[in-house]
């Protein structure tokens, strides 16, 4: 199994781990967004969706641990790569100028990543690891978004998430080798469109909750 360790610990192997775990998170974002948007059909529908999801029991728990494992791989590999990449140029340039390849999303990848990690801890503390007896998830979320600071914080972080996925989606596909002259323009466009959908979709939710509550 030495070959397997060697393949994954190479620079391309590490990038591959970032890409595959990242693509899984993109899948998670889609499902999470679709689930959250049920609130537009009313608080009862949102509660019913949450109840149905939690009634899955063991499979859901397994999936949550899979997500945790993916996050551990993505975060540790990402931080290590960031450290290695800084070390790869000990003497920096006096003048830095982009030739047109870099985007705001690609240049801020490690930083937006750390912001998302910090957000994740806050988000789980707010809505997952809370006492849910005698109340509904709709109530908990609505109460939280009564605070305009919370609304602003959540909406701003969603812009950060959009930036992260704007580079993440196409970059992950490039890393797994899926670069094709016919499809690459579509992939680049899809990456941007997905980023906008994530930014607006998730960013709209806190505002929506604060308005209807």
């Amino acid at each position: 199994m030495n070959w397997l360790v060697k393949t994954f610990s190479s620079s391309i192997g590490k990038k591959l781990m970032m890409a595959v775990t990242g693509l899984c998170f993109i899948g998670f974002l889609m499902v999470h967004l679709a689930g959250n948007l049920t609130v537009t059909a009313g608080g009862e529908v949102f509660n019913a969706y949450a109840a149905k999801l939690h009634s899955l029991g063991a499979p859901l728990l397994v999936m949550e641990f899979v997500l945790l494992a993916l996050a551990v791989v993505h975060v540790i590999t990402g931080l290590y790569l960031f450290y290695r990449n800084v070390m790869a140029r000990p003497q920096r340039y006096a003048v830095n100028r982009n030739a047109g390849g870099r985007t705001l999303g690609s240049a801020t990848m490690p930083y937006t990543g750390v912001v998302i990690l910090a957000f994740l801890v806050i988000h789980l503390t707010n809505f997952t690891f809370v006492d849910k007896t005698g109340t509904t998830i709709f109530q908990i979320v609505s109460n939280a978004f009564q605070n305009p600071v919370t609304v602003l914080f959540y909406t701003l972080v969603m812009v950060v998430v959009a930036l992260h996925v704007s580079h993440g989606l196409w970059s992950a596909l490039q890393t797994i080798g899926a670069n094709h002259p016919k499809y690459m323009p579509v992939v680049m466009a899809a990456s941007l469109i997905f980023a906008v959908v994530v930014g607006i979709g998730f960013g709209f939710l806190p505002i929506y909750f604060s308005l209807i509550a």
């Binding site: 060697k6 620079s11 590490k14 591959l16 070390m87 006096a94 003048v95 970059s171 890393t175």
Partner: protein, 254 residues
Amino acid sequence: MTQTINLTLKVWRQGGPGVKGRLDTYHAENISTDMSFLEMLDVVNESLTLDGKEPIAFDYDCREGICGQCGAVVNGRAHGPEKGTTLCQLHMRHFSNGDILVIEPFRARAFRVVKDLVVDRSPLDRIIQAGGYISVNAGGAPDANAAPVPQETAELAMDAAACIGCGACVASCPNASAMLFVGAKVSHLTLLPQGKPEAARRALSMVDTMDTLGFGNCSNERECEAECPKEISITNIARLNREFMKAGFFSNAR
């Protein structure tokens, strides 16, 4: 009628490897806009020599844009601001009178500064030694078209083979990664029938050598593609990723 311009240069001066360097200011006066960037440096060096000062050390060879020997970072851009151009083929007509130019060597942990703007790019040679070749028994030249290659494939291989190994991809990469160089070299051999037998071992060995030499990791910033004087595409990096995965997970090569 020849136009002339005056420039202020801030050039990286460093006595030798591992010695502390600094940016020194020089004035390049009456520079003909028909000159190349390197000829402008020649003029500056001539006046430095006449003044009894140490001339600026910089690399060059053919001055025709095909050898890959020259290169420096001008105002944050490898080989200067023109697209698809080496430093020797960059002409002074692209600059304006009064411009301030900051000239730095290609910077990466893997590229040691030898002196001033001269860097040691032999790590790229070591990557080639690790697998950037094909093994064939020498003998009479084979018949033309004995190994058929579709025109389209030949073109792709030629596009990758246009890499002159100047190191601008490493210099311009925010992570100092050599993936475009390795991608081009692996692609150019792997696309052709002569390169196929050793494809798996080549991909593993060249990537392994690249990693141990201290180059950074590709994060698809695409600065390399934008700066490459031969305009090598990052589709070659995607091909390298595929070749590496095929070799790592599905081949017998270790």
